[in-house]
Amino acid sequence: MDSDYIAFRGSLQQLLEKVESGEMVPKLQASHAPPCKFWTAFMVVNGIRHVAPVIHGPTGCTYGVANAYKLTSCEYRGVPLEPTTCTALDESNVVYGGEGKLVEAIKEVDDRYHPELIAVLSCCCSGIIGDDVETIARDAEKSVNAKVIAIRSEGFGGDFRSGFEDAFRAVMDLMEPPRQTREKTINILGARVGPTYTEWLEDLDEIKRLVSAIGVEINAVLCGGCTLDEIQRAREVKLNASWCYDWGQKLGDLMQERFGIPYSRTGQPYGLRATDEWVMGVAGPLGLEKSARELIRKETDQVRAELESLRRNLNGKTAIVEVAEFPGPIRALSLARMAEEFGARPVVINIHPYTIKERMPSIKFLLESGQNPEVVLTKGLFSLGTFRSSRRTELEIRQLVTNYDNAIFLGTPMRQPGIPQVNLTTRTGYPQYGFPGIRNIARLVESAVAHAARPRSKLFRQVLYGG
């Protein structure tokens, strides 16, 4: 019986309506705790070179983000270790206020580190006691060499979306009136050099390769390793384009609204159709259709065999795409679209109502662009919050896939529902964007079909689900 393990089955549109009307709220308050607004605001700031963050709060928030993003950027992204400072607020600052300490900290940071930019981030403590970080940043800028911005990023003040949106707003304030318009030049929006599990530099490299191949220059990747100078000159471009649509959308919309810079609203370039749309979305407004068409034709020819392989392995099948840590909701929807392109019927499983709520603008855009796949939410995943739900979800997914003939699973190797399973997390599987992405995904799908009968190991099973 479906009702034993299915919390929702319907279209993405129907799930969105239920979330908007408040119908889909998990019972357990404690479940699902992604990063707060402060963490995601820091992720944006972390993608700017030679920035010195001054976190107006205690050491826990500071070391937390420094360890999670700065150090891992150094280990895996070739980024040098730059400081993550804080005012180390203590009990007496909470009682008497910490504004004076913040002013001194900004000066000290300027003296010590000589940064190009100082980003003041508030957190719960400074937010509640009412320290005015924005005014202090404005005033302090007069007495230091660096530019100073402030972001109200108290953890309680919003979900993770509001953190990066507010950070991008602050970054926009650094953009100076254009001294010139640079023809055939774009910004790429929505990047973070700070590593999140869903973000891969190989995909960014493929985007850079594509735009360069049609004669387009990139001013800045905002904020994926950009400099202050690139941010300041961001208004000189002819067009903005997205890397991760979810993260870039707000910045693109705001820059269009405030500065009149057009924004190419395309999703992630998974598969041939989305890659074509992405490239043409950039080429069209810049008058480069001809060279773009030529590039697409030439590169499509080079992946004919892989396109055929994808059609052969996906056509007529049900592509079950699970939203988990990887691929994450937006990549999952992009993968669903790609599967449909090659003749499969996509079913997106376990996109949680919390995720719908947090990603609302992107989900709405994808619906407007015609993506409305079937969505199934299992009860284990819906309840969330405990390890038990993970074991339960695995069992539920195993049961769910038996409802579909000829199904193939795209998602995380944390599941193995007993059907061909495409592991999209292998190191050699990147990039997944663009033409090399078609080649890589075709190879992964071939491998999934060839090895479908291989069992899950006892080691993996017991580590993942207990027992």
Partner: protein
């Protein structure tokens, strides 16, 4: 040159690039060492990331330990979050848990949520014990948080049995140790005690049952396994239950000298001097034989100027180990904390060893980097932070022995004792070889 000791208080510096997380993390790390417990962070959702980090550090297991969060938002900050806390605790009735620790973060403490009153009000409605711990981040560093949680555990859970177990000891704060596989050190201590016929009444905390915590008062002695925190807990046990602290004036057992002193004092205290002597003789012989047969790279160690940038727990015993056994000489010591007792021990050590390095207590990343740039040692005993943070200084050897580091995470390898000495030597030599590895080929092979 006279020893230059710097004590940089928090107020002396306005901007701080910390090595340490906050009190919430330290408290979470401590209570997560209780078997089968549930930890509820009364906090916005971001603070739960700290609890998750603490979960990993305590080697907790998702199949056994639950972590929950009230995920406070603006509404609860404006109107108070006690109602939400109550609801979250009551929802957890479906879980089979012996105890729930409720940890409060900065937000709810500032707005005045009374987690103690909430727990008292609903204790009767749940089958598990509720223990509130006020450990907001602004209360201090992770070491302060560990002290707060240890105090709560000892004051609320330990019962006064009125009698002692002969030859028994409780182990305090093993988890506050920058050895990334500190459980190896703990295991070594337990093994040595077992050989001396000493019973461990409780480990506070790691894999500790509630019943073990309750009987801490029956211990004759306590052993503090950290120089960064825990002294308050040990002092409390002395005052409240007459539990004597052993090995309190000597560094932890790294290298020949420290291990010899440590084992000897334990052996004398527990009437097992013969066992201690045997362990020392056999251990020292084994280390020498292994190094002789497998090769000890004396060349880069002898008289190498060194810096130690770690926590006090491993930093202080490293001083004697690297200077007496490895023939290096420490020029710079940056410790992440500044407990008074730890300072006393370090200063005594330096005097005994005739060393006069520059010492910075309570160092942050900036202070360490500047000090390293000024002293430019040949060797740094540190972590990933020093590895990346001092790249442009071109210090030849950054030996990754302290947290944070991504290596040596799977198998618990002790630093204590004789196998620990070999472990450290192996890590040092691996890093040394890595430094000499060719980064580019001078010509291509033909096949």
């Amino acid at each position: 040159m006279a020893t230059e000791h710097e004590y940089l208080t928090r107020t002396a510096e306005r901007c701080h690039d910390p090595y340490l997380r906050c009190a919430l993390y330290g408290a979470a790390q401590t209570v997560l060492g209780i078997n089968g417990c549930c930890v509820l962070a009364h906090a916005p959702q971001g603070c739960n990331m700290l609890v998750n980090s603490a979960f990993g550090w305590q080697d907790a297991d998702y199949t056994e330990t639950l972590t929950l969060c009230t995920k406070l938002c603006e509404d609860e900050i404006v109107h108070g979050g006690e109602e939400l806390l109550t609801r979250t605790i009551l929802e957890a009735r479906e879980f089979n848990i012996p105890i729930m620790f409720i940890l409060s973060a900065c937000g709810p403490e500032i707005v005045g949520d009374d987690i103690v009153a909430v727990c008292e009000d609903i204790q009767d409605q749940v089958d598990f014990k509720l223990m509130p711990i006020q450990c907001a981040g602004f209360r201090g560093s992770q070491y302060d948080g560990t002290d707060i949680a240890l105090e709560a555990l000892l004051k609320n859970l330990v019962t006064d049995a009125g009698q002692k177990t002969a030859n028994s000891v409780c182990l305090i704060a093993p988890h506050a140790n920058a050895n990334p596989t500190w459980m190896g050190d703990l295991e070594w201590v337990k093994n040595v005690l077992a050989q001396m016929g000493v019973q461990v009444t409780a480990t506070v905390t790691h894999g500790t049952s509630l019943s073990d915590i309750e009987k801490v008062s029956t211990s004759e002695a306590s052993l503090l396994l950290s120089f960064d925190c825990g002294q308050k807990a040990v002092d409390y046990l002395t005052t409240e239950f007459g539990i004597e602290q052993v090995c309190k004036d000597i560094p932890l057992p790294f290298g020949f000298g420290n291990t010899r002193r440590w084992l000897t004092e334990l052996g004398e205290r527990f009437g097992a001097r013969d066992v201690a002597d045997r362990l020392i003789t056999e251990g020292e012989k084994r280390v020498v034989e292994v190094c002789r047969r497998k090769g000890l790279e004396q060349f880069f160690m002898h008289r190498a100027p060194a810096a130690i940038v770690t926590d006090a727990t491993i930093g202080i015993p490293l001083v004697r180990f690297i200077s007496e056994d490895l023939e290096m000489f420490p020029e710079l010591i940056c410790l992440r904390s500044s407990q008074e007792k730890a300072r006393e021990i370090l200063e005594k050590e330096l005097k005994e060893l005739g060393l006069s390095p520059r010492v910075i207590y309570g160092a942050d990343v900036y202070q360490s980097k500047v000090a390293l740039a000024e002293s430019m040692p040949e060797v740094v005993f540190g972590s990933n932070i020093e590895k990346h943070g001092t790249e442009e200084l071109d210090i030849p050897f950054i030996l990754l022995i302290a947290s944070p580091t991504m290596r040596f995470r799977m198998i618990d390898r002790e630093y204590f004792g004789y196998t620990g000495m070999l472990n450290l030597i192996e890590f040092i030599q691996n890093d040394w070889r890595e430094r000499y590895r060719s980064r580019q080929s001078r010509y291509q092979a033909r096949w």
